[in-house]
Symmetry: C2
Subunit: 255 residues, 2 copies
């Protein structure tokens, strides 16, 4: 049974896609068989892993609307690392799925068909709490919430937690909060540390010990279509995501 | 006739709220009568201008659903600067307005009732292209698009331009692209300059000459509920938004 991790936060620009790409790559290097699913119409994870959208015959949009089996849309990136890519066509899904029966279960049903081939499935969510994020939360076994170390990032957390509880109560009772990840932390700024302390006060043990620092290599890597591990293995960004992968695996053992 | 500027980009974390708060405050200091409308359920602009959400009897949610006149929801921040605030209840609007007639015109109709009291109305949009952003685009006379100087920020631009053309063709023929604003520019990084050049190549004259630098004062100010002009007037962030206000006003004269 693969562990399905929804990487979500409706606050924009907090490092969801960056975490999907680089935690995915780090887990794959540690030997886990990983599938990264791009559930965001912007398709940043798809291009961040070097997939050219114009060459795709089918993508997650077709899989959600049952027009293509997931296995056909999945692309191999490197050993142990596959992607189910997104294109702009996914933007139409929010509207087109309004009248579809059990519309929030579409992704869960599709992933059931491929999950035996993977140990970890990471779902990169858009910055909203619409049908696409609901699909991810319905399919997931746990939620990973990246929180940027800035003031505005604290505001939306209550709303997000409410939605997770709602999904757990009505759709997916197995869903749990896997962890809260502090991102874009800049050790030179008081603001970063103040927000980090606030988050730790609020979430306690659920906050990963690993903190992702602001590191320009993480922002440069996507323009080469590479994970930061392939782009600059020795960078602080790459090392932080390798550390996070170790912590995710260690938490699994202790439950 | 007030100029209504929708500040929008579905890419998250690019400086939409920061621009709404600080361009609003800068225009107000230059003598324009300004209303800032928070169209994002996260309500970052509302808290960024120091309004405590728990004290609000009604907010934009009630105005969109015709349960409160806009004049009653509007709060005075300081001379020439008012806000129509948002609370979390706005998150329900996306779902509740699905079956409402002419649902994307709700904001335009509400603003007609108050616009004679203002010279500029700024609309802060959420990071998605759903019903709330459609309301903002339908009400606006022009669009201001903040673009962060990072690789992922380039990807969603085509989709955004398509949506603006769609709204212009079917709902709001007067809508035009007022300007593209480069934000979070870090002069120490090659990446920033590369993206800035790419944006100028793509948008030419429509890119504001003013570039907003990454400046920690802009990230600190919201935690005090102040615009950066009130928080640290001499900072590079404050000066950049004052320069932007002058440029917006100068463009108006030349059309
Ligand atoms: N630790 C980091 N150091 C430096 N830059 C980073 C880091 N994490 C993310 N970035 C950059 O910050 C921007 C926002 O990150 P990203 O796009 O991953 O966030 P997101 O939450 O997926 O955004 P959206 O809400 O639009 O989906 C990107 O340009 C990315 O390259
Ligand atoms: N020029 C800047 N310098 C430093 N920090 C900035 C700057 N502009 C914005 N920020 C910070 O970056 C983060 C993202 O900015 P902001 O929240 O305004 O973006 P947004 O586009 O409104 O995000 P969302 O998509 O979630 O609505 C915030 O924490 C903000 O304080
Ligand atoms: Mg993303
Ligand atoms: Mg915002």
């Amino acid at each position: 049974m693969a562990k399905i991790i929804a990487i979500t936060n409706q606050k924009g620009g907090v490092g969801k896609s960056t975490t999907a790409v680089n935690l995915g790559a780090a887990l794959a290097r540690s030997g886990s068989r990983v599938l990264v699913v791009d559930v965001d119409p912007q398709g940043n994870t798809t291009s961040g892993l070097g997939v050219s959208k114009s060459t795709l015959e089918c993508c997650i949009y077709d899989v959600l609307l049952d027009q293509c089996p997931p296995g056909q849309a999945i692309r191999r990136i490197r050993d142990n690392l596959d992607i189910l890519p997104a294109t702009l066509r996914l933007a139409g899904a929010e509207i087109e799925m309004v009248s579809v029966v059990a519309r929030e279960q579409r992704l869960a049903r599709a992933l059931m068909r491929v999950e035996s081939a993977y140990d970890k499935i990471l779902l990169d969510c858009p910055p909203s709490l619409g049908i696409l994020t609901m699909n991810a939360l319905s399919a997931a076994t746990e939620v990973l919430v990246p929180i940027q170390c800035e003031f505005y990032a604290l505001e939306g957390i209550t709303q997000l937690m409410n939605v997770v509880e709602l999904v757990k109560a009505h759709v997916n009772p197995a869903l749990k909060i896997g962890g809260v990840l502090l991102t874009l932390h800049d050790s030179r700024l008081n603001l970063s540390e103040q927000v980090a302390e606030e988050v730790r006060r609020h979430f306690g043990e659920r906050v990963f010990a690993t903190v992702i620092p602001r590191n320009v290599k993480l922002a440069e890597a996507p323009s080469f279509g590479q994970s930061v591990l392939d782009y600059d293995f020795s960078s602080r960004g790459a090392q932080a995501y390798l550390e996070l992968a170790r912590e995710v695996l260690a938490r699994e053992k202790t439950g």
